[in-house]
């Protein structure tokens, strides 16, 4: 048997190649972002340069064919619906992930996990259809018209809960078994182990899941168009019909031309800005204790 010394240099060459390959891939992935933001900017530029960014925030109404371009109500509706959905979906999703791993007997946990994976893949149009025929009339019975912010929040919750559940689950799965064993050895109950040991340890993955889910909620289109009523107004009550930024694009893009079309791209750009703000906020939050 010989241990070659020559291989040492070829190994580092291989490592260099690896770095080059993955760095190229990373560059490629980022290039998609640049391309998309560039595309949005290019398409919305006619509106931004002639109408000006301020009017999109401060115009009193959204009537693009009559020269009014206020996006503020839709922006607030998008935010309200996404925040509401994240607030509802986070406990549901995390609880589902915990349930699968620590409470359910294996076959049930397995089934539950599969339903989550499936639910995450049900097309938004199907969920929207279900919302339109099941949820909206239900709400409408108490508070017409039914198509409302609340319906939007509920539908978004159904759509993003699986994302949070799957990501939290993956984070819990990848924790070393020793964590749980150590806690049990200390005489901690299952609940205390979860609350004080496992969940804090998995917090990175859970947070990533919530962020992805929030982003998906903000970006969701088809289902929202069907259930939230699409009236351009600030969300003052849960039962008000509201229009979200994405719905605005979906509803009007098919018929828009000229500055109307460009201003719809401004909605897209605004959504991007919203997600950037969200991600930046998440940095802040995680930055405070990421070295902890």
């Amino acid at each position: 048997m010989t241990l070659s010394n020559r291989s040492s240099s070829s190994r580092s060459r291989r490592d260099t190649r690896l770095v080059a390959a993955v760095a190229t891939a990373a560059l490629g992935s980022s290039a998609i972002f640049v391309l998309i933001v560039g595309f949005l900017l290019k398409e919305s530029w006619p509106a931004l340069s002639t109408i000006g960014p301020a009017r999109f925030l401060f115009d009193p109404a959204w009537r693009p064919t009559e020269g009014l371009f206020g996006l503020a109500p839709m922006l607030s509706a998008s935010l309200a619906a996404s925040v509401g959905a994240v607030i509802l979906a986070t406990p549901l999703g995390v609880a589902s992930a915990i349930f699968c791993r620590h409470y359910a007997p294996p076959p049930i946990g397995w089934i539950h996990r599969w339903s989550m994976a499936l639910l995450s893949g049900v097309p938004s149009v199907v969920i929207g259809l279900w919302g339109l025929t099941a949820i909206v009339p239900l709400i409408g019975r108490f508070e017409p018209p039914g198509a409302s912010l609340l319906a939007g929040i509920l539908i978004l919750t159904v759509m993003i809960t699986p994302t949070i559940a799957l990501m939290s689950g993956a984070a819990l799965d990848s924790l070393p078994d020793a964590y749980g064993r150590g806690a049990v050895a200390l005489g901690l109950s299952r609940e205390a182990t979860l609350a004080h040991v496992l969940l804090p340890a998995a917090r990175g993955g859970v947070a990533a899941g919530i962020l992805l889910a929030a982003a998906r909620a903000l970006g969701e289109t088809m289902a929202i168009v069907m259930v939230s009523g699409n009236v351009v107004q600030a969300p003052l009550s849960l039962f008000d019909p509201v229009r979200m930024l994405t719905a605005n694009i979906a509803l009007e893009m098919a018929y828009a031309t000229g500055s109307h079309r460009a201003s719809l791209f401004v909605s897209g750009l605004m959504l991007t800005a919203l997600v950037i703000a969200l991600a930046a906020a998440a940095w802040r939050l995680s930055g405070d204790h990421c070295h902890g």
Binding site: A147, N230, V231, L251, Y255, A256
Partner: protein, 283 residues
């Protein structure tokens, strides 16, 4: 273990690089591969698309060398693609605008637009004035329009939709005057929304409404100006509200496109037009 792991790893790296290369090669080869096809591309209105696709299938059967690709995406896309040459023909579910003189419009069918309410609503007819009052928010309860008490949910179409423009034009309203409670995009969404809400009122394509009402959906078509909303009345021209479904070309259409237009306007596709619940144009 037959494969040494060195080669195994390199092979995997190679495979992924290879896959990426394949995609790039595909990019370039594709730009060469297009022109050869005898292909007719139609893009535009999602209302016209199912009809055009069915007509296209029959056209393909009769002309095996030609392929008709129908793409959906909205009337404005149809007009834009026809103008830019991306599509051989655009599809638009509206009449030409004043600034579209560079385009030729060919009507292949008509579509009536009627008012619908929920079947639980006791109102059997509404005057034009009542409809205007409901849509502008002056009447907010069915009891003021001859029905049982209950809040009215006004279902309106999204800005830019051709049915909205038709509706506004007929009732001499401006977009800003309408006080809607629910705004919807596609036709079927309006039907489903009204079907699910006892207090709702909306306006939709008459053909689909007739079909859905006949198949158990909880909607009822209301007559307009005393004329019953039916495909029959749209065909005879007595129903006041209808829109053309058009094929659009930039300038004169090419030979294949011309043949397709003629085919789509001919009597031999009337059964298709009717099966999509539209009204054929008289030849």
């Amino acid at each position: 273990m037959s494969v040494s792991w060195f080669r195994g790893k390199d092979r995997c790296a190679l495979a992924s690089i290879g896959r990426i290369c394949a995609v790039y090669i595909a990019f370039f080869s594709s730009s060469l591969g297009h022109a050869a096809d005898n292909r007719l591309v139609l893009t535009g209105s999602s209302t016209v698309a199912p009809l055009a696709a069915e007509i296209g299938k029959r056209f393909e059967e009769q002309n095996p060398s030609i392929r008709v690709d129908v793409q959906s995406g909205g009337s404005s896309r149809g007009v834009a693609d026809a103008r830019s040459g991306l599509a051989d023909l655009g599809m638009a579910s509206r009449a030409p605008n004043a600034d579209e003189t560079d385009l030729q419009f060919f009507t292949i069918a008509r579509d009536g637009v009627g008012i619908i309410v929920n079947t639980n609503n006791s109102v059997r007819s509404l005057t034009d004035e009542q409809i205007v009052a409901i849509y502008t928010g002056k009447i907010a309860d069915w009891s003021k329009a001859g029905g049982a008490a209950g809040r009215i949910t006004v279902v309106n179409k999204a800005e830019g939709r051709s049915t909205l423009e038709l509706f506004l034009h007929y009732f001499k309203l401006k977009g800003g005057d309408v006080k809607a409670h629910v705004i919807i995009g596609e036709n079927q969404q309006a039907i489903k929304t009204v079907a699910g809400n006892p207090g709702a009122i909306g306006y939709v394509s008459i053909g689909s409404a007739e079909y859905e009402a006949g198949h158990g959906a909880h909607i009822r078509l209301l007559p307009m100006s005393g004329v019953a909303a039916s495909v029959e009345n749209v065909r005879s021209g007595s129903f006041p509200l209808s829109r053309p479904l058009n094929l659009v070309s930039k300038g004169a259409p090419g030979a294949v496109a011309r043949r397709f237009i003629d085919f789509a306007r001919s009597r031999s596709v009337h059964d298709i037009v009717e099966s999509q619940f539209f009204v054929p144009v008289a030849p």
